[in-house]
């Protein structure tokens, strides 16, 4: 070999190595999951344990070799609950060809990002806004819609009312945050109450961060409420019920909450005030969650002691289960090399019936459904613990009752 040939080959080798170095990820089969989360903002208390569940679930899958050899990379962005930050973060990652799913922590963020998701032919997950079921697109919700769960609470209320030997229908008060999420439960929920003959008092809305809720609660009590539904995301419902308890209202009025009602977070601080509270949830909670071996084994493996365990950890695992099932289906359909975000969107619509190990009802995603599951379970705070008082039951379709 001549000197010139050796120099030539060295140059070729150097170029090849530098290209390989720049695109080393091209050789590792990897797909991405973007979590537009809140780790240090106002709802970090619930989002952090949920993303811990997701992180651990994916870590465990990766440790076992991934899905058909494809590893899953979780990209967690701390949006601090801010839409502008979330859109900016999505902008940063949207051109990534293997970014298959985006999970947005708030309805506001979800609605802003949804427009880009449609354009990018990707799929997004958001909490529970019924509008995404009413207008089927590429955004999926985590469980039944907010208004479906509220309607299930109303069913329970009617049954409880009759069980107490009362005739007719009760009067129900509703208070929640003064924002789209706070109003969402009544878009369909109000119509469902009317259908049952329930008198729903004019709703009371308050700004997130309100310290005391006495004014709103007193107005609802004076309006003759037999039941009061406390909205918002924990610890807000906990604080509302704390105030109702201080006012002596919980002695004669039954307090109810939706699926962001008290978790270990609220129970740990105001167990006495929360006693008797009824919670309608699409994911397993309280004592039941602590007895779910699939959930607790993973927690213990990666987090150790159960002292700081919060049940939303299981809900985070559920996001991971859905992603893994979707990825398996997408890989089977097109293979890794051809895999595009649109294939994951198609795959999610075909994982109907996916079992979630008791964490929540079976997956209900399909070409006509954006609901993560259809079932809810009713829980009650008893002796400082959250215990189930029903089995899984299908939540009524309240979304279809509202004109969006």
């Amino acid at each position: 070999m001549g000197k010139r040939s050796a120099i030539f080959l060295s140059i070729i080798l150097a170029v090849c190595l530098s290209i390989a170095g720049l695109s080393s990820s091209a050789f590792a089969k990897e797909v991405e999951y973007l979590s537009l989360a809140d780790y240090t903002g106002p709802i970090a208390g619930l989002n952090v344990p949920a993303d811990m569940g997701l992180e651990d679930y994916l870590k465990d899958i990766n440790a076992k070799g991934g899905v058909d050899g494809v590893k899953i990379k979780l990209i967690g962005i701390d949006t601090r609950y801010d839409t502008a930050r979330a859109v900016s973060a999505y902008k940063r990652y949207r051109r990534s060809p293997k970014l298959l799913v985006v999970n947005s922590i708030s309805t506001g963020i979800g609605k802003a990002v949804a427009r880009l998701i449609e354009r990018d032919k990707r799929l997004q997950l958001v909490p529970g806004d019924g509008e995404f079921q009413a207008h089927i697109q590429r955004t999926f919700i985590w469980g039944p819609a907010y208004q479906d769960a509220f309607a299930a609470t109303l069913d329970w209320v009617m049954a409880d009312w009759k069980k107490k030997g009362k005739s007719g229908a009760p009067v129900i008060g509703y208070l929640s945050w003064d924002n789209p999420f706070g109003r969402e439960l009544l878009r369909g929920g109000k119509e469902y109450a009317k259908k049952l003959g329930i008198k729903l008092l004019p709703p009371e809305y308050f700004p997130p961060g309100t310290l005391k809720h006495d004014v709103y609660l007193t107005r609802l009590a004076k309006g003759g409420a037999n039941y009061i539904h406390a909205g918002g995301v924990d610890p807000t419902p906990t604080n509302v019920i704390r105030d109702a308890h201080s006012l002596g209202l919980t002695k004669k009025i039954q307090m109810t909450c939706g699926y962001w009602g008290p978790t270990a977070l609220g129970i740990g601080v105001h167990a006495k005030a929360l006693e008797g509270t009824v919670i309608t949830s699409f994911y397993q909670r309280g004592e039941e969650s602590k007895e779910n071996k699939v959930v607790t084994d993973l927690w213990k493996k990666y987090r150790g002691s159960m002292v700081k365990f919060n049940e939303v950890y299981g809900m985070g695992m559920s996001w991971g289960m859905t992603y893994v099932a979707g990825l398996k289906a997408a890989l089977k359909a097109v293979g890794y090399d051809n895999l595009k975000p649109d294939d994951m969107y198609k795959a999610y619509q075909g994982i109907t019936g996916l079992d979630k190990y008791g964490v929540q009802g079976a997956c209900a995603y399909s070409p006509t459904s954006r609901r993560g599951s259809l079932e809810v379970k009713i829980y009650r705070v008893k002796g400082g613990k959250i215990v189930p008082i029903t089995g899984w039951r299908k939540a009524p379709d309240a979304v279809s009752l509202h004109k969006f």
Partner: protein, 166 residues
């Protein structure tokens, strides 16, 4: 001579590939030049920014497109919620009209999180005791059309608050 030809090819082919990749960027340069105005261009941090927030006016973007307004963090600056190496934070989101113009104001959440860098209490209230207001300086602001990729740049000058009169 042959080696020179091969080396030239090695230089030209990657250039062509990179050129094709950046075609989209080139497309964004077609059309009117996007412009951005920050109102006010100079301010100091005070709670008044919640009621009268910093606002962004833009022109020259695509019609009916979504706009992301972002602040570029100076090298080495750390911000709550941003990971190591992140140098952009979203300040506002807007939508252009038929002519490609937009106006977007910072929401209270953005002002609290990114200008004041507050903490949050379990009661969902901003905690000013944990606030770390961003230091005075000139911050580069970008507005990006999320459909056209057009970018306009301006700046926001944060000045120290006026000294209280004794």
């Amino acid at each position: 001579m042959r080696i020179i030809k091969i080396l030239l090819l090695l230089a030209i082919i990657p250039a062509l590939v990179l050129g094709a990749i950046s075609c989209q960027t080139l497309q964004s340069l077609v059309g009117p030049k996007a412009k951005l105005e920050v109102i006010p261009a100079e301010t100091f941090l005070s709670p008044a920014l919640i009621r009268k927030p910093v606002t962004f006016n833009g022109t020259g973007f695509g019609p009916k497109e979504m706009i992301a307004v972002e602040m570029v963090l100076p090298s080495g600056m750390k911000m709550k919620g941003l990971a190591e190496g992140e140098d952009l934070v979203g300040l506002a989101v807007g939508d252009t009209d038929d002519k490609g113009n937009f106006t977007a104001a910072m929401k209270p959440m953005a002002t609290l999180n990114w200008f004041f860098q507050v903490g949050w209490t379990p009661l969902l209230r901003p905690n000013f005791k944990e606030a770390r207001p961003i230091p005075p300086g000139v911050y580069k602001i970008n507005a990006t059309g999320l459909y056209s990729d057009r970018v306009a740049t301006s700046s926001l000058k944060i000045v120290p608050p006026p000294k209280k009169k004794k």
